[in-house]
Symmetry: C2
Subunit: 99 residues, 2 copies
């Protein structure tokens, strides 16, 4: 429950960015795993894709601002939008941070 926030106080959001290669982009790490598994005795594994996750917390005044900041961080810094796509999940941690 949030009753009121003083000026200069931010909410803390927990963020998960799930980055994966766009469809059709070559995935050498995934292909290597797929080729190796049968020789190790693991059969029936297909369509292996390797991605990365970035988890962090971010301060913002509201969920909308947090979302905008994270989208901006993703497209300028965390991902290559030409070959990768990012799924962003944001949760309010109910923590408050004074500036």
């Amino acid at each position: 429950m949030r009753i009121g926030l003083a000026v200069g106080v931010s909410l803390v959001f927990s963020v998960l960015v799930d980055v994966s290669l766009r469809k059709g982009i070559a995935d050498p790490a995934g292909s290597t795993i797929e080729r190796s598994l049968p020789t190790l005795g693991f059969l029936g594994v297909r369509d292996v894709g390797v991605g990365k996750t970035i988890r962090f917390t971010i301060e913002a005044e509201g969920e909308e601002e947090a979302k905008n900041k994270v989208e901006s961080i993703c497209s300028t810094f965390l991902t290559n939008p030409v070959i990768e796509e990012a799924k962003i999940t944001i949760e309010n941690t109910d923590q408050v941070e004074g500036n």
Copy 2:
């Protein structure tokens, strides 16, 4: 709805393995991101952790067998259990594969 499966026919499961470093293990990639963001104008980002995801499909006779196979693949091949932990998500794709 599954009515009956002939011998030698497998179900196809869609698998997501979410690998992250155990608490307390140094995360140089995450630290680098955390140090770099303020110089790029993004403030208030903390506790950055970088992990990897492996997505694939696997054939098995049932969800229990799929889970056992994936756990075995994870601990022997996809992760380093000393420093990493894996969260496994398995979904039935409702596809059937004849052997």
